[in-house]
């Protein structure tokens, strides 16, 4: 038998968050090695918060991730509120929902525009695109700015929010600020639709590769779940309670990665925008559904490269939903509705949909409100095994295209997952 011989060694793949390596060895067509390696240095956050007061836990774990600090904050606050028996008001929840969508928008636009787009134009970064595709780049910058300024206005800062706390908010945005945001969200829907028109022309450039897998995300009765809900797996008939998260995630350690891997009903599963789209597409806004059709996305979609397209669909959904939430808050008015917190011993699990997928936090507190146990399960941990299995399915099919093309497809595959690698080695 004869075939290609090649070595692919991508050391610290670029345009992703964190450090990952790709290794492929093929001799005379025989595949010797395919490895997605994560050498990121572990940080031990679950051990760092032990002995810390419940008010300090969310600000510390926010530092797990610079891109999804708001998701970590909310997953943490939800777990702590569950442990302490704190119920937040409807308006507090509505404002949290806007802030969480803002982070998803920020992260998705960063990925679509700055990290993934250069692959379609065969350039190294977004900088050359400023000259060649100025209008589209400015559209991306405008949406990115809107997402970040929403975080500034509601959370007090773009990264690592300040105003978020157990039971509510340290401060609320002003009515004028909310009015201005509402108008910008409405404009943003139009901007995201324009961006979708451009991206639709690039869809044929996505590799034709599918691997059906298990898709896991949060699910809610009324709405496209992101702030709360139960666990939905595409392999299970019924949704599962959050308390069963360890049975779903089954984290384990492998030698090729400092970040743990996860599996449930199959050898791997997928979380993130595509998983949410596949499981919850019925709850998208009509405009977001139209965007999906325009991008050729129909559920279930089994091409992992389509994750970037599902992210864009979610941007449209996020902006439209935020405009609606802001309008309702303006109708009812904003006032302090913080829930008083009484310290008690207890445990709680919280979960939100971070930009990259379902994110679980669990804490146990003692009767002084000090943390005694913590567990955080990050979306990218739940995707690492899927990336490995995708690579194992992809390499045999495309190895005859030559080293350069194969390496490009593998790097693009990793980017499609939009991994948050340092987050996964928390």
């Amino acid at each position: 038998m004869s075939g290609p011989t090649m070595r692919i060694d991508v050391h610290h793949i670029t345009r992703v968050e964190g450090h990952g390596n790709i290794h492929v060895e093929i001799d005379d067509g025989a595949i010797r090695k395919i490895e997605w390696e994560v050498p990121e240095s572990p940080r031990f956050f679950e051990a760092m918060v032990i002995g810390r007061h419940f008010t300090e836990v969310a600000p510390i774990v926010s530092r797990i991730c610079g891109i999804c600090s708001i998701s970590h904050t909310f997953s943490s606050l939800r777990a702590t509120e569950e442990a302490l028996g704190v119920t937040i008001s409807e308006k507090t929840e509505a404002l949290r929902r806007i802030l969480l969508w803002a982070e998803i928008l920020q992260s998705h636009i960063l990925h679509i525009g700055y990290l993934a787009a250069p692959d379609f134009f065969k350039v190294g970064s977004v900088l050359p695109l400023v000259a060649s595709h100025k209008e589209t780049v400015l559209l991306i910058v405008k949406l990115h700015r809107l997402a970040n300024e929403t975080a500034d206005i509601i959370g007090g800062r773009t990264t690592h929010p300040i105003r978020t706390m157990v039971g509510g908010w340290t401060m609320l945005p002003g009515l004028r600020e909310m009015e201005a945001l509402k108008i910008r969200f409405e404009e943003g829907v139009e901007d995201a639709k324009k961006l979708a028109e451009v991206v639709a022309t690039l869809v044929p450039l996505l590799p034709e590769f599918t691997r059906e897998t298990e898709y896991i995300c949060l699910t809610e009765h009324n709405g496209y779940a992101h702030y709360k809900g139960m666990i939905r797996s595409s392999d299970c008939a019924d949704a599962l309670p959050l308390s069963s998260y360890r049975r779903v995630t089954n984290e384990y350690v492998v030698a090729q990665s400092t970040a743990k891997w996860a599996k449930f009903n199959r050898e791997s599963y997928m979380v993130g925008a595509l998983a949410r789209f596949n499981n919850n597409h019925g709850a998208l806004t009509p405009t977001a559904k139209a965007t999906a059709l325009q991008l050729g996305l129909r559920p279930p979609h089994y091409n992992p490269y389509g994750n970037t397209l599902a992210q864009l669909v979610e941007c449209v959904h996020a902006l439209e939903t935020c405009a609606g939430l802001a309008a309702r808050l303006l109708d009812t008015g904003l006032k302090n509705e913080n829930t008083p917190v009484t310290v008690r011993a207890g445990s709680g699990v919280g979960a939100v949909e971070a930009p990259r997928g379902i994110l679980f936090h669990e804490y146990t507190y003692d009767d002084r409100g000090l943390c005694r146990a913590a567990n955080c399960i990050i979306p990218t941990n739940q995707n690492h095994a899927g990336i490995q299995h995708d690579m194992e399915a992809l390499v045999p099919r495309f190895k005859d295209r030559g080293k350069e093309q194969l390496q490009f497809m593998l790097e693009m595959l990793v980017r499609a997952y939009d991994p948050c690698i340092s987050c996964s080695a928390h």
Partner: protein, 247 residues
């Protein structure tokens, strides 16, 4: 010729690098005064030597120490960038506990696999010589631009040498101690425009101590407000300020 600038990340959340992307249109202005030759998170490319290297993250492994020393050798100016690089950041919290316990708590039975081994967390200047620091968790984007402009012109960058309280007064913020909160503003280096107190969040000391902090006045504030030793310890250790400074 424009200075060749590179960004590198070690153990951290990469949130400080993200602040560069968050400059939005101002990135184009930044690219006009410096030549960004290496920045793995957002661009593909590398270079052999750098005029200015920004180091994000703390140092927790031997291999990372070697990589940092190699970057140092190839850089004219090396800047520690963000609280993890500047102070060790929240990553130093693990240094306060027994290393084996920490590894067991996170990795369970697999705790002693060799690839999971790390050293106590160090700030960048605890490993190599640094020429400048940009504090903060995350960094302040405008302070970053000011410092880059100074470095590009060959000037020494300047950080404020007064505490966050000064900026708080300027913004007319309510003093958090007056509303029953605890805050490290009296001894923390300013430059963040008191962003946390302005949003009713305690200053966590992420920019490190101001030069010559007024320890006696800080002790008085803590005593007057009946802050317990446990609480003081937790406050000062979040960003690795030695709690022994305020016994």
């Amino acid at each position: 010729m424009k200075p060749r600038v590179a960004f590198f990340d070690f153990t951290c959340c990469e949130g400080c690098q993200l602040q560069i992307a968050d400059l939005e249109e101002e990135i184009i202005g930044l690219a006009a005064i410096v030549d960004i030759v290496e920045f793995r998170e957002v661009l593909t490319g590398s270079a052999a030597a750098y005029d200015i290297a920004f180091i994000e993250g703390s140092i927790t492994r031997l291999a990372d120490e070697e990589r940092l020393k190699d970057i140092r050798r190839r850089s004219k100016i090396l800047v520690e960038f963000g609280a993890c690089a500047h102070l060790g950041g929240v990553n130093k919290l693990k240094n306060l506990r027994d290393a084996t316990t920490v590894r067991r708590e996170v990795y369970g039975d697999a705790w002693d696999m060799p690839h999971l081994n790390t050293l106590p967390t160090r700030a960048v200047h605890e490993v190599v010589t640094v020429d400048a620091a940009i504090p903060g968790c995350p960094i302040n984007r405008q302070e970053f631009l000011t410092i880059v402009k100074a470095l590009a012109m060959g000037l020494p960058p300047k950080l404020p040498d007064y505490p966050v309280c000064v900026e708080c007064k300027k913004r007319d913020n309510v003093c958090l101690y007056d509303i029953g909160m605890v805050c490290l503003g009296p001894v923390t280096r300013a430059g963040c425009d008191a962003i946390c107190p302005a949003n009713r969040g305690a200053c966590e000391g992420c920019r490190g101590l101001v030069p010559d902090p007024n320890n006696n006045s800080m002790k008085d504030v803590l005593a007057k407000n009946g802050i317990s030793l446990d609480e003081i310890y937790r406050m000062f250790t979040m960003y690795a300020i030695d709690p022994e400074v305020f016994p």
